[in-house]
Structure formats: structure tokens, C-alpha cells
């Protein structure tokens, strides 16, 4: 097999693509993943980061609920360094119908989700930020998951199993022989270099953009782009996930994720043209703050860091204008059976929570086509970084007296934190002070995790995600990137892009301290650094 020939090509570097590549690679296939931007740039990185227990879907979509709870338990084992098993509450407020609680609990139990009705007083003790007027509470095994970390870990494991990854590379067309897809034409968006790759099977894991990829291959996949907007608050207000115990609606989930908490979402159908540049509207911000404060009143006076939106890759099945009633179920299309097009599979629908199952289903389909009989091991094999369990154990194993930054690195990288070289004080110096990211951790991401821009570094290390939103870390990290690429001019442009991108998220909530901080950032970069 030559350098540009593979068993399987996966299009899309979101969690579905990364998971599918890992599964294929673990089953011994020669894999290539192609992503036109960076990892987790679509819906993968633009959601709550909720480790669903499935409770949210229990009443309306029992099938999804069952998938969720199964995958929830699997991710706790195989992705422990990406998961924060906080547990969650489904609270009833005075305006909610308390009788829904029983329907909800029954549905959870049918789906195999532990759902314990607890006294509102106990709920207040467990989660002091919760609205004290709550009339009921149910405790479920929700949690949070870091989608960037999860995606990077899957891709890293694929690479450790021989897989190859091409980021910043777009598919310009398919190589067709009659009714068979033989490979793809690609172009590197940075260098402009064009390259053909060949494979027996090509998997379309493009999320909402899978619609366009399918069209390029000459088949139709009817996607339903539904925008969801979210707000990031500057610190963790809650330590348990808080949901409303009612029919799923807007802005009724508050998730504590790493050092922040996130409220969402909305659901609005948008045209395909807008998928690449979704913006959060003032109405959405208003709705999120108002509804959020009903669950945790202190949110109304908590600093907001950013607003962002993602597009759910739902597969349209009926003409429901809100998209709420569409099944979040997994759709795997073998285009040979469906459209008579050989060597092409689309894996779509589903959610972050069920990515592993989606990958398993897609890989099973690939293996059937290749006549390979190997069983899936992704449900039992820990991802790289998750072998040791808790980050406390990892930190104490590596360092006798771990510093805050070392503890934070262990929490981000799990057992892979051993890869961080701390030879001298420069390696230990902080790039990002808000999230405690050291020079060594950033260098590791540049060398081993395919990070070539500041935004790539953000997804892998959390630089720029803290309260200062890049004010101090961006220029420091840019220095390391410039050194690694030996190019100052390109890095200056990257730095400007990064700051612009940070501002994009600050803009919809640009008031108070966040605006002050943004002003200060502008002074630093414009007047001190001359950018």
C-alpha cells in the first residue's frame, strides 16, 4: 500500500470522525482523517459539554435516553480525564407542573437511568446555587465532558494506532470509478498544495457539513440545521448540573464545565448558508439570562465571559419547525444500499454523548464492506490519558508536591501529563494565568497534538478560555508558535485573528467587567504591543 492509499478515509475532525478513526485504527485498518479546519470546530466544540445521563430524553425519546446512559457509563471508564462526574438535578419550580416529576422518574427508570427524588432542602444543601423556591428535585447521573479534550484524545489514540491526520485540508471532490468512490481530491488550505488520497471506503462524518460532502459525492442527505446559543459564565456557579424538570425547552440546562459554567440552549432553524458564521442575537442573550436566573438566581449578577452558538447536525425526518421533536438518534447511511454508490458511508445525527456508539456503528459498516471480522474494543479500552483514573492520583504520581499549574495540567491531560517536560523554570513559567497552562504544556500541544495556530492551542490547552480571554496568554503563546514555525509575520496575523475571534464571543455580552477587560486587552495590544 503506497503512502496515499488507505483502507478508510474519514472526512470530518469532529468527535464522530475522531471516534470513527480511533475505532477503525484499533481494528487494524490503515486510516486517514481529513479536516478542513481544526479538531472540534463544529457542533463538537459548540455545545454544553454535558455528559447526559439520558434523563433529558427519557420521556420523549426513550431510545436516545438508553443510548445516553450506556455511553455515559462507558465514558466515565474510558475517558476519565475528559469527564467530570458531577451528577445533576432536575428541578421543578413553582411555575412547573410538579406532576411531571413522576412521569419523568418513571421514564428514567424504564430507560435504566437512576433517578432519585430528593427533598428540595437536600437539593439546596447539595447545590447551594439552586433557586431556593424549587418545589421538587430529582438526582440523576449527569456530568460534564470536555469535548475538545475528548476529540483530541480519540485522534491521538488513532495516531498511536498508525492513523494519519490532515488538518486544514479540504475535500475538493471525490475520485469516482463508475458507481464506486475510490478516494478524494484534497487541497491544503494553508499551503495550497493539492493531493489525492485513495481508500476502499470513505466515511462522511462532516456533521452539518455532511450535507455538502454528500452532495459533492452526488447523493442527498437531508440535514436540519438548528442553531443553539449558549452563554459562558466566568466561574463555576454550580457544581451539579441543573436541569428543569419539564418538557425540554429553551435555556434549561446549566452545566459546570472545568472552571466555568454554561447555560443553554436555544433552538432556531437556520438556512445552510449561515452554518459557517452563526452569531448570537440580543434576544437569545436575553432569553438565556432570564431563564438561567430562574434555575440559579445568582446568574443574573454573575459575570458573563462569552456567548457562542453551534449548529446541531440533526437529520430531518418531518417538518417540525423547531427541531425539538426530531430524534437525536444515530443515522448511518450505507450509500451502496441507499443510493447505489459503493465505498461511501455517512454517519450523522446522534450527539457528543453517543459519539463512541456512532463510531462503532460506522466502523462495523466499514468492516462489513472490507470483509474484516474484528470486534469493537473502544468501550473497554481507556483513551490515552485516562489510564490512571483520577487526576489527583496522576498529579501525585508525577510530582511530589504538585504546583497549581501541575495539578491543572494533570486535570487536562490525565496520565499524558508525564509528557510535560519541566527541565527548568522557563518550562514551568505560565503562558495562561487564568487556567494555569505552562510553557511546557503549550510546547507539548504544538509538538504532539497538531496545534499550529492560537485557536488550535486554545482547544487543546484552554489558553484564552479564562477570564482574561487572551489578554496575556495570547501574545506569550504566539511567541512560542513563532519560534516553533520560525515565522514572525504569520504569527502576528494569527494573533490578530485570535483576538478578533475572542472579541466575537465577548461582543454579544459586552458590558460591565467583560467590556472593561476587552478595553484593557485592546490597550495592551494596540498601544503597548503596537498590533
Amino acid at each position: 500500500m503506497s503512502n496515499n492509499e488507505f483502507d478508510v478515509i474519514i472526512i470530518g475532525g469532529g468527535i464522530t470522525g475522531a471516534g470513527t478513526q480511533r475505532d477503525c485504527a484499533m481494528r487494524g485498518l490503515k486510516t486517514l482523517l481529513i479536516e478542513r479546519s481544526d479538531i472540534a470546530t463544529g457542533a463538537t466544540g459548540r455545545n454544553h459539554g454535558l455528559l447526559h445521563s439520558g434523563a433529558r430524553y427519557a420521556v420523549n425519546d426513550p431510545e436516545s435516553a438508553q443510548e445516553c446512559i450506556k455511553e455515559n457509563m462507558i465514558l466515565r471508564r474510558i475517558a476519565s480525564h475528559c469527564v467530570d462526574p458531577t451528577d445533576g438535578l432536575f428541578i421543578s419550580l413553582p411555575e412547573d407542573d410538579l406532576s411531571y416529576q413522576q412521569t419523568f422518574v418513571d421514564a428514567c427508570r424504564r430507560a435504566g437511568i437512576s433517578a432519585e427524588v430528593i427533598d428540595p432542602e437536600l437539593a439546596k444543601r447539595l447545590e447551594p446555587s439552586v433557586n431556593p423556591e424549587l418545589t421538587g428535585a430529582v438526582r440523576v447521573p449527569d456530568g460534564s465532558v470536555d469535548p475538545f479534550r475528548l476529540c483530541a484524545a480519540n485522534m491521538l489514540d488513532a495516531k498511536l494506532h498508525g492513523g494519519q491526520v490532515r488538518l486544514q485540508t479540504t475535500v475538493t471532490g471525490f475520485i469516482r470509478e463508475g458507481d464506486t468512490i475510490r478516494g478524494v481530491h484534497t487541497r491544503n488550505l494553508v499551503t495550497g498544495q493539492e493531493q489525492d488520497y485513495y481508500a476502499s471506503v470513505t466515511v462522511n462524518a462532516g456533521g452539518i457539513w455532511g450535507h455538502d460532502i454528500a452532495a459533492l459525492a452526488g447523493v442527498t442527505v437531508g440535514m436540519f440545521p438548528a442553531k443553539g446559543a449558549l452563554l459562558v459564565f466566568a466561574h463555576r456557579v454550580n457544581n451539579l448540573v441543573i436541569n428543569r424538570c419539564r418538557k425540554p425547552s429553551n435555556a434549561d440546562i446549566l452545566v459546570p464545565g472545568d472552571t466555568v459554567c454554561i447555560i443553554g440552549t436555544t433552538s432556531t432553524r437556520i438556512p445552510f448558508e449561515e452554518c459557517d458564521c452563526v452569531a448570537v442575537t440580543p434576544d437569545e442573550v436575553n432569553l438565556l439570562i432570564t431563564e438561567g436566573a430562574k434555575m440559579a438566581p445568582s446568574l443574573s449578577a454573575t459575570r458573563i465571559l462569552r456567548a457562542y452558538a453551534g449548529v446541531r447536525p440533526l437529520v430531518s425526518s418531518d417538518d417540525d419547525p423547531t427541531g425539538r421533536n426530531i430524534s437525536r438518534g444515530i443515522v448511518c447511511l450505507d450509500h451502496e444500499e441507499r443510493d447505489g454508490l459503493k465505498g461511501f458511508i455517512t454517519i450523522t445525527g446522534g450527539k457528543l454523548m453517543t459519539y463512541r456508539l456512532m463510531a462503532e456503528i460506522a466502523t462495523d459498516a466499514v468492516c462489513r464492506k472490507l470483509n474484516i471480522d474484528k470486534s469493537c474494543e473502544t468501550a473497554t479500552t481507556p483513551l490515552p490519558g485516562s489510564e490512571e483514573g483520577s487526576y489527583e492520583a496522576v498529579a501525585r504520581k508525577i510530582w511530589e508536591k504538585p504546583s497549581m499549574a501541575q495539578k491543572a495540567a494533570a486535570a487536562r491531560m490525565g496520565s499524558r501529563a508525564t509528557r510535560i517536560q519541566t527541565r527548568n523554570t522557563l518550562d514551568q513559567a505560565l503562558i495562561c494565568e487564568c487556567e494555569e497552562v505552562s510553557v511546557a504544556e503549550v510546547e507539548n500541544a504544538i509538538e504532539r497534538l497538531d496545534a499550529s495556530t492560537l485557536t488550535d492551542l486554545r482547544r487543546r490547552t484552554r489558553i484564552g478560555m479564562g477570564t482574561c480571554q487572551g489578554e496575556f496568554c495570547a501574545c506569550r503563546a504566539a511567541g512560542l508558535l513563532a519560534k516553533a514555525h520560525d515565522c514572525i509575520e504569520k504569527e502576528r496575523a494569527d494573533l490578530a485573528d485570535f483576538l478578533q475571534e475572542r472579541w466575537k464571543g465577548n461582543f454579544p455580552i459586552g458590558w460591565g467587567d467583560t467590556l472593561r477587560e476587552a478595553e484593557y486587552t485592546q490597550w495592551v495590544y494596540k498601544h503597548v504591543l503596537g498590533i
Binding site: 466561574h235 442573550v285 443574573s300 454573575t302 504546583s403 497549581m404 494565568e433 467587567d513
Partner: protein, 407 residues
């Protein structure tokens, strides 16, 4: 659209703009590389600690709680409060016997006062210092404050009637130091206030303000004292009296630390607690007069204690001293002396403590004053021990400079 009208966070930690001014002003960071600095220990660390107490960093114990970070912060972040609150909340290591001993100023004072001459002789002995160093890690190079045989409270008891005769009354929160170690400062205050026609009374029984307990994580004990003191202060304030103080640290504790670190509501009494230097200055400015000695001459260098800077009241002591005829006044540069109460007594902090204070000591030696003025007793111990110059509270200097009918 509906904007958030305001935002709130514990000790204002989210107001931090990451400008790093506090880090530049931190005296510890300049001498101890093990300390992460106020920004990282305070607002940055807080976000991680909220995620998981595991992220608490034991190096926060190097913070000497001087509050210079808070004074420097342009965003009003209570950085030092964040750090002390985190130490109280997350540091689960047992509190050392040494720390309990150092922090229990009331208890130690009770024990030592009846046998003051012996206690003073014993704590001054080289062998005692060696033993205390070996047993408790109290640095042997440290000089201990002397205990006074007769407490200030009993002296006041003997002068109660005489003081009650004044038409105008104020109350005095004297603190442990005046009662157990240095009653003269209290007597000086009474002398000056009497000269202004004001009589002095004590609270119904004050307890140690608790600052040393707070800094040594003894929250339960500190809270007990705080609750007691607020009750005693309320009784006095309800009578319409101001409560004067001569120690900047006790004052800061009563006014700021009770609500911020102990959750004890002092809103009813806070505005009635005032440093005596401010009270007297404002009196004089409004036209009250004191009779100064005609031939008085003193070269005085004034050191503003860190907690006086936090109160923002150093200016009153300075102006008061400048009013004294014959007083040659120099203001020392804003700097921390390094002792920070019990901090500098601990062996692990001795070197850092002395290194922090060195620029201040050097300036005092260069100026070569007759006396150093300062509103804080622990600064006094530190400066006297480290430079050999004697240190007096501005109130004592004022008392020395005035003539009264009794003189």
C-alpha cells in the same frame, strides 16, 4: 435588551482584570520564589478551587496578609481576603501548637502578666530562645515583646470615676498589646483626650480582636471573639459613643475582617470605630487646642503600617504629627516591615520577613531619626529589633509633646 445591572462575586474576585499590579506590589514575591503571588493565589486560584478543593496550593501560607495587593488593585478585588479565606476553607492540615500559642494573645497575656518579670527574663534568655526554636520553630533570633506587670484594664478601673467626670465621653478598644505589654500607650491616649476635654471608658469587656487567629486559620476561636466584641461594641455605640483605637491592625480586623472573613455582621458598629489619630486630628482641625511644650524637639520618621494604608488613614497620623511644633517630620517610603504579626515569629518565615523589611530598615538608618513613629505594635517590635531605633505610636509622641495641668 435587558443588561445585567451589576455583577457580584465573593471578595470581588471576578472584577480582576489580570493587570498584575498586585503581583508587582507584593512584598513576599520579591523575596520568596515559592509564593505564587497574590493574583495567582487569589482570583486566578479561586476559579480552580471552586472546581475542586484539590487545586488549593499550600504555598498560600506564605501570604503575610499585609493587604498591599488590595491597596494596589484598581478593580477593588479583595485579594488578601480571598487568600486568607481559601487558607481557612481548604487547608485541612492540623494547626500547629506553635501557631495556636502565638495566636492566643489574650491567653498568653493572662498567663504571663502575673509573673511578668520572670516571663520577660525567661523569654529573653538565649537558652529559652534555642528551646523555643527547637520545640516550636519560633525563630531564636526574634525578640519577644515584654509583658507588663499591671494591665491597662486595671489601671483604667482605678481611674474610672475621674474619667466619668468629663462631659464628653469616648470608648477605647485598647487591644491585647496595650493591656498586657504596653499600658503606657493607653495612658498616653487618656492624657491627650483628657487634655481635649474628653473622658475615656472601656468596652464592657473586650476580647482579642482575633487577627492572629484568622491568620493562623483558627476560625472558630476568631469568630467567638468577633461575636463577643461586636456585642460589646454595640452596647457602647448604642450609648452614642465613638470607639477609638490605637492599633491599625485591630482596627482593620474589627472593621473589615469580621464580615469579610468570619461572616460576622458588624454593620451597626463599623462606622463608629476609628483610629484615635484621626479622631484627634479632626478635633484639632475643627479648632480644638492643645498646649504644646515650647521647647519640644524631636526628629521623627513616620512609617505607615500596611493595614493603616489599607484603612486609608495614614494621612491622619501624618498630619497630626506635623501639627506638633518642634517636630521634624520625615515620611518613610511606603513599605512593609515584614513581620505581619505572628508571621515573622515563625522560623520558616524569618529570613523572608527580614528581607522584606530591609529597605525600610536601611532608610531609617540613613535618616537617623530620634524616634520612629508608627501605629502598629508588631511593626514596632520588628523595627526596634532590626534597627535599634525606638518606635513610638503617634499618640505617645503627641502625649510627650503637650503640657497638661498635671505636668
Amino acid at each position: 435588551m435587558k443588561l445585567q445591572e451589576y455583577t457580584l462575586s465573593t471578595h470581588n474576585f471576578e472584577e480582576c482584570m489580570k493587570c498584575t499590579v498586585c503581583t508587582a506590589y507584593c512584598p513576599v514575591l520579591q523575596v520568596n520564589p515559592l509564593y505564587p503571588g497574590p493574583k495567582q493565589a487569589g482570583p486566578d486560584g479561586e476559579r480552580l478551587r471552586l472546581k475542586d478543593p484539590f487545586f488549593f496550593n499550600n504555598a498560600l501560607k506564605y501570604c503575610l496578609n499585609c493587604k498591599r495587593c488590595e491597596v494596589s488593585c484598581p478593580s477593588g478585588v479583595q485579594v488578601a481576603d480571598l487568600i486568607q479565606a481559601a487558607r481557612i476553607k481548604y487547608d485541612k492540615s492540623p494547626i500547629k501548637w506553635r501557631d495556636r500559642m502565638l495566636a492566643s494573645t489574650d491567653f498568653m497575656g493572662h498567663l504571663a502578666r502575673p509573673v511578668a518579670p520572670i516571663a520577660n527574663a525567661v523569654t529573653g534568655l538565649g537558652v529559652t530562645k534555642t528551646m523555643m526554636d527547637a520545640m516550636f520553630k519560633i525563630d531564636h533570633r526574634r525578640t519577644f515583646p515584654k509583658y507588663s506587670g499591671r494591665g491597662f484594664e486595671s489601671w483604667m478601673g482605678r481611674h474610672e470615676k475621674e474619667q466619668a467626670a468629663f462631659a464628653e465621653q469616648v470608648a477605647y478598644f485598647h487591644g491585647c498589646y496595650v493591656n498586657y505589654n504596653y499600658p503606657r500607650l493607653g495612658k498616653d491616649l487618656v492624657k491627650v483626650l483628657n487634655a481635649l476635654g474628653v473622658g475615656v471608658q472601656l468596652l464592657e469587656k473586650e476580647k482579642c480582636c482575633g487577627v492572629a487567629m484568622i491568620n493562623n486559620r483558627m476560625k472558630t476561636e476568631a469568630t467567638r471573639n468577633a461575636v463577643h466584641n461586636v456585642k460589646a461594641l454595640s452596647k457602647t455605640v448604642d450609648k452614642g459613643l465613638m470607639v477609638l483605637t490605637t492599633s491599625s491592625t485591630c482596627t482593620l480586623t474589627l472593621r473589615n475582617e469580621y464580615p469579610a472573613l468570619l461572616g460576622v455582621d458588624n454593620s451597626g458598629v463599623r462606622d463608629f470605630i476609628m483610629m484615635a489619630s484621626r479622631f484627634i486630628f479632626e478635633r484639632l482641625e475643627k479648632g480644638a487646642t492643645l498646649h504644646f511644650k515650647p521647647d519640644y524637639h524631636r526628629k521623627v520618621a513616620y512609617h505607615t503600617p500596611c493595614h493603616m494604608e489599607k484603612l486609608g488613614w495614614g494621612v491622619f497620623s501624618e498630619k497630626l504629627l506635623r501639627m506638633i511644633p518642634g517636630l521634624e517630620f520625615t515620611k518613610l517610603d511606603s513599605a512593609c516591615c515584614g513581620i505581619a504579626g505572628t508571621y515573622g515569629f515563625k522560623r520558616e518565615n524569618y529570613e523572608a520577613s527580614q528581607a522584606i523589611g530591609e529597605p525600610l530598615f536601611a532608610q531609617i538608618r540613613t535618616i537617623n531619626p530620634d524616634v520612629v513613629a508608627c501605629d502598629c505594635e508588631t511593626c514596632k517590635w520588628q523595627i526596634e529589633m532590626s534597627t535599634g531605633y525606638s518606635v513610638m505610636n503617634p499618640i505617645s509622641i503627641l502625649a510627650e509633646a503637650i503640657e497638661t495641668n498635671k505636668d
